[in-house]
Each structure stands twice: as C-alpha cells, then as structure tokens.
C-alpha cells in the first residue's frame, strides 16, 4: 500500500482495520444493484443516473454533502419513497436479480426483506418486548417461542443485557443510543437480508455512536448493510466500500440533482480518490 498523500491522511485519521482483515473482492457481488436509477419528486429530479452494486455481507457507505440525494436513493432501495406524494423511480433496482419495482412485487414484502433504521430513533409507544414482537406479528412469521425470538434479536443488537429485566417497560424510557439499538433489534426480528441505515448515529452522542459502529461490524456477518452518513470518519471506520455523491446544478432551472461520483473500496476512496471532487470533499475543502 503506497503512503497516503498528505491531505488525505490528515483528513482521515482512522484505521482501516475492518477492510484489511477481510479480503474483499475488487468488485462487489451484487445483492442489490442499481441500474441507471433516477428518482423524481414530481418534476424535480433528485437523483440522476446511478449505477451501483452493493456487496453481499458488506457495509457500504453513501457519503457526500447534504442535498445530493443519498437519503433519497436509500429510501428507493426499500420502496419507502412510494409513500411520498409524487415520488417516482426510473431505472431498475434489482434485489437478487429481481426488479423490486416490478408490478408483481409486493412492496410490503420488499420492506420486510430490506429493513430500515432511521436517523432519529423512533420506537413505538409500547413496551420493549412489544416493539420487537410487532414486526413478526404483523408479517405473519411462524414463531415457536416469541420470548426466545425477542431475546435473540436483543442479543444480536447488543442490548439484551441492559434491558432483560425491563422488557415490559415502555421503550420511551431508554436512552437515545439504547432506543436506536432497539430499532435495530426490531428490524432484525423480521429477518431481513439487508439493513438500510439513514444517518443512524447523527442524533447520538459519541459513545453511543461507537457502540452502534461496533454493532455494525457484528451484524455484517449475517446482513448486508448500507449506511448513509455525513460523517466521513464514520464511513472510514465502518465501511467496506464507500460511494461518494455530489450535487450538480442544472443550468436552466438551478435545481441541484444528486450524482454518483466515485465508488470503490473505502481505503481507495480515502487514500487514492480518482476524482478531484472526491479529493476536495475528503480533504475538507468543501462540504
């Protein structure tokens, strides 16, 4: 590995521990693929021409300045954008080689298979137990023993030890970091293949953040994780691959649309960015 260039090194004082210890393929074997995806809100094109392949059992980070469509793209991966009036996806999003926007596809099922954790923890106003049990109940999962399922989900989310004595208490009594781990636990409870995370730590303090980042490393063994973050250091800490987005201004309308600039192993993005815009963002010249 060549010595990192000065600016890139100072900007990202991190360890690439995660990427080093795993031998990653140069190109990902796509569990989810975007082929020429454009996302519109009415007439406004929020995301333009994205071609991206997310690796199975990898953590992929989407980074870039605000307003460049990262969250919009993320929400298109599990059809949450369907709920927004006037939102429209053109192009193809393939999950295991199936177009998730095809007519025969049930968006409800898509959302079970591709789960989502939100920026602000949003537990239900129910007990901790019922928060976890909700997903399996409504999706009709065959469950032999719900107590065991709840325990497993909480254990996998590194929360079991802290809440095992208060499962029946309201989820609102937990701290912010605990609530977010609860949201991860309830997502896991419906056995998704992919977990999407939309800036999951931006509402949390650094200690809670690092616990969730550790959790992500654990979860990667069983799930594919795609995370939107505006924190570059976080991307460098957790992600196997990183996609850098930026916003292009349309000359005529002045609207800004998001485009994918560069996508590579995280190490390469931070140490040997191919595109000048990537280098500018990494080194903090803008964004």
């Amino acid at each position: 590995m060549s010595t990192p260039t000065g600016s890139a090194a100072t900007a990202t004082h991190t360890n690439f521990h995660a990427a080093e210890t795993r031998r990653l393929a140069a190109t990902p074997s796509g569990l989810i693929r975007c082929e020429d995806v454009n996302v519109y809100y009415g007439e406004f094109r929020a995301v333009t021409g994205v071609n991206l392949e997310f690796g199975r059992n990898e953590i992929t980070a989407l980074i870039g300045p605000s307003g460049c469509g990262k969250s919009t793209l993320l929400r298109s991966l599990n059809r949450m954008n369907d709920l927004v009036d006037g939102a429209r996806v053109e192009g193809t999003v393939l999950f295991q080689d199936e177009d998730i926007y095809a007519k025969a596809v049930d968006p409800i099922e898509v959302r079970r298979r591709i789960g989502m954790v939100f920026q602000k923890p949003n537990p239900f106003p129910k007990s901790i137990y019922d928060n976890i049990a909700y997903g399996p109940r409504v999706t009709g999962m065959k469950v032999d023993n719900m107590d065991d399922l709840v325990e497993e989900a909480l254990t996998r989310s590194a929360l079991w030890g802290e809440v095992k004595d208060k499962l029946k208490q309201s989820a609102f009594g937990l701290s912010g970091g605990q609530q977010q781990r609860l949201c991860i636990a309830r997502t896991i409870a419906v056995q998704p293949d992919v977990i999407l995370m939309d800036e999951p730590c931006s509402a949390l303090d650094p200690i809670a953040t690092s616990r969730i980042e550790d959790l992500m490393h654990e979860l990667r063994k069983d799930y594919t994780i795609i995370i939107v973050t505006h924190n570059m250091q976080q991307a460098a800490r957790v992600a196997d691959r990183t996609a850098f987005f930026t916003a292009l201004a349309d000359e005529s309308t002045g609207d800004r649309t998001g485009v994918l600039v560069e996508y590579d192993l995280t190490r390469n993005i931070f140490e040997q960015p191919q595109d000048q815009r990537t280098e500018d963002y990494i080194s903090g010249r803008f964004g």
Partner: protein, 304 residues
C-alpha cells in the same frame, strides 16, 4: 456651527432626553383600550354567572328526588323528569352506538388512506366542514323526511331522534378524530411500514391506539353537545306528554332539553321552577361529561 456649504446637512441638535418620566404603554388611550378589553371578558363572565345564579335560584326549590323519580304531571308539585332522564340516556346511547364507529371509520379513511390530491377527497373534506355548520334544526327536517319516506307515522321514537343526532354530531366526531390521528408523528408510521407492515396494520396497531385519548375526548364532547340539543327532536314531534319509561329503540321518549322547553312554556310559576331544576340537572351532567373529557385528555394524552 453650521457648515457654510449650501447643501449643508441639518445642524446637530442636542438629542431630546429619553427619561421623559412617561410610559408609552400607560397613555390614556392605551389604558382605555386595555380597560375595554378586560370589560369584554368581564361582561361575558358576568352574564355567565348571572345565568347560573338565576337558574339556580329559580330551580332550587324543586331540586329533590321527586324530580328524578316522578313522571310529569299537571300539578307542578307532583311532577318529575324521570322519563326525560331515561329518554336522554336512551337517545344518547343509541346515538353513540351509531355515530362513533361511523365517524371514526370515516376519519381514518380521510386521514390515513385517502389520496389527498384527488379532488373528490378534497370535496369530502369541504363537505364535512359545511355539515358541521348546518343549523341543527335542518337535521331534524332531514330525519322527518327520511322517516316519512319509510312510512313511519309516529316519528317520536328513540331511534328517530338518535338518527337525527347521529348525523348532527357526525362531522364533529370526524373532525376531532382526524386531529387526534394527525397528532401521531410520522416517524411511528414510517417505523411500522419499514418493518413490512401494511398500511392497515400500521393504522390499527399503532396509530389508532396512540390516538385513543384524543378520540375519546372529542367523542365525549360531541355527545355532550347532542345531550343538550332540542331543535331536531322538536321537529320529530318530541313535545308530547310522556308518562311512561322509555324502554326501547322504538319506544316513545322525551329528553331533558325537551322537558325544559315544555315546562318553560307553561304559565304556572311551579313549572318554571321545574324547568330551572331540570336545567341544573342537565348542567350538572354536562359538567361531569366535560370534566371526564378533560381528565382523559390530561392524563392519557401522549407527549411525543
């Protein structure tokens, strides 16, 4: 000290001191204004207190168990409001059973499922707002026409009055329920849908349970309004002499407001006292209902 140039600026005056000893907020005009405002509030409350006092003074003699247990009679000293009490219970009970499911279901549809952009749904919203402002007596006419169409001759039956009251407070229930549903934050719905729940599952298992306090409050207030209504029932012929206990949906009946109206119109002072006493009874029940609604709201309302 003025400059000699012809385009001279104004010479600097010594600024007027700002410690004038006066207060702009206390100018006579401002004080008079404030006084008028307080007067408005005062007048409103003064009339309210006067009303309560006069009602009480008029009716206090007749506040007794006889009021609760006796039937109406030509002799004011013997008369009571028993059929009216039971009739009100029957009428409001039947109304609640009909209007609550209907109103809550309609509100859920409009708030959670209907596509807001389609003109038809906006028309329904406008329609509900309009119905909420239609004079109550028109609902009586509607019930009258409907029952005539069905061939019902004696329209003064519990189900007839309940029909008119149901439609009367339906818009109020819809509006209050929609507000309660709207208060549930979007994140709860998003969280549920992201797990693979359908929209109905989300509504039934998350949104409705979370909005129960608001719906309960709104419903109790709407029903208390129905309890005090007389005009639609008059149109259905409620002003008859009832000397039996109303005992079924098809039974004849009368209600507390109708009984008050009845006794108010009689010449004898004794009946006016009865009207006053029944008014006190009605107000007491309404106060209890409103207190219950406020209690539910304060105790159970979720703070998100």
């Amino acid at each position: 000290m003025s400059p000699t140039s012809t385009t001279a600026t104004q010479p600097l005056r010594a600024s007027a001191p700002i410690a004038t000893g006066r207060n702009g907020e206390m100018r006579p005009s401002a004080l008079a204004f404030l006084l008028l405002l307080w007067l408005s509030l005062f007048v409103a409350f003064a009339v309210l207190i006067t009303l309560l006092i006069t009602i009480f003074l008029t009716g206090q003699n007749k506040l007794s168990t006889a009021l609760l247990f006796n039937f109406p009679s030509a002799d004011p000293d013997e008369a009571g409001a028993r059929p009216a009490i039971l009739g009100s219970v029957w009428a409001i009970g039947a109304t609640a059973v009909m209007t609550l499911p209907l109103g809550i279901a309609a509100a859920v549809h409009l708030e959670e499922f209907a596509d807001r952009k389609r003109w038809f749904n906006r028309f329904i919203e406008l329609n509900v707002q309009n119905l909420a402002a239609v004079p109550s007596i028109v609902y009586g006419l509607l019930a009258l026409a409907f029952l005539s169409m069905l061939g019902v001759t004696n329209k003064n039956i519990v189900i007839g009055g309940a029909f008119a009251l149901t439609l009367l407070i339906l818009p109020v229930i819809i509006i209050a329920t929609r507000e309660a549903l709207r208060a549930v934050p979007r994140e709860i719905r998003d969280g549920s849908l992201a797990l693979g729940a359908t929209q109905w599952q989300t509504t039934w298992r998350q949104v409705l349970p979370a909005s129960v306090p608001g719906i309960a409050t709104g419903s109790i207030l709407a029903l208390s309004r129905a309890l005090g209504e007389a005009a639609p029932l008059l149109v259905l012929g409620a002003l008859v002499y009832i000397t039996f206990d109303p005992n079924g949906l098809l039974s004849g009946y009368t209600t507390l407001p109708i009984q008050i109206f009845n006794w108010t119109g009689r010449p004898q002072e004794g009946f006016h006292e009865l009207a006053g006493a029944t008014s006190i009874l009605l107000l007491a029940v309404l106060i209890l209902m409103n207190a219950l609604a406020i209690f539910i709201r304060n105790k159970f309302q979720k703070r998100w």
